[in-house]
């Protein structure tokens, strides 16, 4: 089991805010087709924290995640990520911010099937202007750390789902982003593989100055959370930590 996904594994007190979103409103469509996905959602995540966002389908989890990640414009409210206000930033500035500070892990992995693992993992570094050799060397290092050493030249299609998600984790972390956004990272995996993936993400979340936000439906992984935000009908219903979090986790098992 690879354990070290951060420069240091010493946990820091999770107190400083990594993400703060307040009063976020986001609607899709116009006229009769208009749907309000976020109705004044307030959300915060701390540095050094693995934060889960849960709730029923259609409650606005993914929309909130997209807004926090800077991949979706919102209509009202404020969004700050690591002290940078995304409000009013030009689209190109948000793209730059995302490129440097955000890592992504998708439900369906979204690895490029025609590239080998090294090339897939090196993409964020290349996007950040790093040279090919440096990027590939760093990518290979990350692949080793997620337990895929020796498979650098394989194609994603030659791997199992769990292995592909490990590659996605390596890709999300290779450029040392401060915020890691995960969309249902375990829903396509069996239980054992899901736990392995969560171990990796939990370790990654402990890195200083980093925060991992996971949107999930999968109750098997609730136990990994430092905090859980519960959403319902476009709003945050509750934020659980400590004793209430433990009770919630036990109630879902």
């Amino acid at each position: 089991m690879p354990a070290d996904l951060s420069p240091t594994t010493v946990a820091r007190p999770a107190t400083e805010l990594a993400v703060r979103a307040s009063g976020v409103v986001k609607a899709f469509g116009v006229g009769d087709a208009r749907t309000v996905a976020l109705k004044g959602a307030d959300f915060s995540a701390r540095q050094g924290e693995l934060h889960l966002v849960v709730g029923p389908s259609g409650c606005g989890k993914t929309t909130l995640l997209s807004v926090v990640a800077g991949t979706l414009d919102w209509d009202e409210g404020r969004v700050d990520v690591f002290g940078t206000s995304l409000d009013g930033l030009k689209r190109s500035a948000i793209t730059d911010f995302r490129r440097r500070n955000v890592g992504f892990i998708f439900q369906q992995f979204n690895l490029i099937p025609t590239l080998n693992l090294t090339e897939n993992v090196s993409v964020p570094l290349l996007l950040n202007g790093r040279g090919r050799k440096v990027a590939e060397s760093k990518a290979q290092e990350l692949l080793k750390r997620v337990g895929l050493g020796g498979k650098e030249t394989k194609r994603p299609t030659q791997l199992s789902g769990g292995q592909q998600q490990r590659v996605a984790i390596a890709r999300a972390l290779v450029h040392e982003p401060r915020l890691v956004i995960c969309d249902e990272p375990t829903s396509a995996l069996d239980s054992e593989t899901g736990h392995q993936i969560m171990d990796l993400l939990a370790t990654a979340a402990r890195a200083p100055g980093r925060c991992v936000v996971i949107v999930t439906h999968d109750p098997r992984i609730y136990g990994y959370a430092d905090r859980i935000t519960q959403m319902e009908d476009g709003r945050v219903r509750a934020v659980l930590e400590g004793e209430p979090l433990q009770r919630f986790v036990q109630s879902t098992h």
């Binding site: 993914t62 995640l65 997209s66 990640a69 991949t71 979706l72 190109s92 793209t95 730059d96 995302r98 490129r99 440097r100 955000v102 992504f104 998708f106 439900q107 369906q108 979204n110 490029i112 099937p113 025609t114 590239l115 090339e119 993409v123 964020p124 290349l126 996007l127 950040n128 090919r132 969309d183 949107v215």
Partner: protein, 382 residues
């Protein structure tokens, strides 16, 4: 990233091969048809290159070199009397029937050359040599070109050689030489004889002089002398470039050949746009979630556009190269037999390259428009 963009395309073998195939076909069609058209257009003026005169004096209504409207015999002297004309000679040209010993007829382009100067004589003798040219001045002697020799040999059932005879309008014609000429636009074989002998062969008409070939006096241009001839005689005088241009213009205006070739060339372009555009667009659609993921990870529209352009232009250049290569092979194969006419120019190669680049640009733009509208957040929606 551009290197990875190429790997993304090369990794999708089916799309890659289909793109190359479509662009190759497009490139081949556009270049090959241009080359054949050029060859055909060059044939329209081949008669001028076979005759080689600086000034062509014709009846005032003649619009192109393959057209004959007879002049009066005295017109030669009128042209000779123009002060800047060095010399002027009569030329007879007409299509007549040549009959072989077995009675079969073949139409030939009979050329009657001035016996004194032999102006317009063949330049490349394959057999008979210069002696054959001199022997043209003797009655009933003719020089035939390779095409005539082949056609007459075919109807005789044996090769035509020096000393053999055939008939032109019931008069004997004796072969004293075989020459090589550029193919005539209408495909007629050439038979050369003296002007006086040509008048004997051809059906008698009131006016028999087809054209007058003239040369300017030293120190004067063909253009200058042509204008003087026109002014003083009322006849039409063409310089070589003028007659070539008039002939090509006539072909453009009066035949369906350019439209027919243009249609095929446009079809090649349309096929290229359709195949490359559709295949590339489908490639983009299939990779939309990956491109969306790249956008989420911070790839801007400019970088994605550059990636798509690199992919499109790479397959374009490969397809162009293969298409040109196949066209060149076609050219080498048809060159010895001379059919179909084939003439490829740098302008053709550049034109096809430009067309292929436009096709690739359009193909890439279709994809770019799709990706540019793509919200990066789409990757979270499954």
């Amino acid at each position: 990233m551009l290197r990875l963009a190429l790997k993304m395309l090369l990794g999708d073998r089916a799309k890659y091969i289909m793109l190359i195939g479509g662009l190759t076909f497009s490139s081949l069609l556009m270049t090959q048809q241009r080359a054949v058209f050029n060859g055909l257009v060059s044939w329209t003026t081949s008669h001028m290159r076979n005759m080689r005169a600086s000034i062509w004096v014709v009846e005032s209504r003649v619009e192109q070199v393959n057209e004959t409207k007879a002049l009066r015999d005295t017109d030669v002297n009128r042209v000779r009397s123009v002060s800047l004309v060095d010399y002027a000679v009569p030329l007879f040209q007409n299509v007549v029937k040549a009959r072989s010993s077995d009675g079969s007829d073949k139409q030939v382009q009979l050329i009657g050359l001035d016996a004194g100067t032999l102006k317009g004589r063949p330049t490349q003798m394959l057999s008979g040599g210069d002696e054959a040219l001199a022997r043209l001045r003797i009655a009933n002697n003719v020089i035939v070109d390779v095409v005539a020799a082949q056609r007459l040999s075919a109807v005789r059932g044996k090769p035509l050689k020096i000393g053999d005879t055939f008939e032109i309008n019931d008069r004997e014609a004796r072969v004293v030489g075989i020459c090589k000429t550029e193919p005539h636009f209408f495909g007629y074989p050439y038979v050369f004889t003296s002007y006086d002998q040509a008048l004997q062969y051809a059906p008698r008409q009131r006016k028999m002089l087809s054209m007058i070939l003239a040369e300017p006096k030293e120190g004067h241009t063909a253009y200058e002398v042509s204008r003087q001839i026109e002014q003083e005689t009322g006849l039409k005088a063409y310089t070589v470039p003028e007659f070539e241009k008039a002939t090509v213009n006539w072909v453009w205006k009066n035949t369906g050949i350019p439209v027919s070739f243009l249609t095929t060339i446009i079809l090649g372009f349309v096929v290229g746009v359709a195949v490359a555009g559709q295949t590339f667009y489908s490639f983009v659609l299939e990779n939309l979630k990956h491109l969306g993921a790249l956008k989420a990870m911070g790839a801007g529209n400019l970088l994605i556009s550059a990636m798509l352009f690199v992919q499109a232009f790479t397959v374009g250049l490969i397809g162009y190269g293969i298409g040109i290569g196949i066209t060149a092979v076609f050219g080498f194969l048809v060159r010895p037999i001379g059919q179909p006419p084939f003439l490829i120019t740098l302008q053709d190669l550049t034109g096809t390259l430009f067309s292929i680049l436009i096709i690739c640009f359009l193909a890439a733009v279709f994809g770019i428009l799709k990706v540019a509208r793509l919200e990066p957040a789409v990757v979270f929606r499954g």
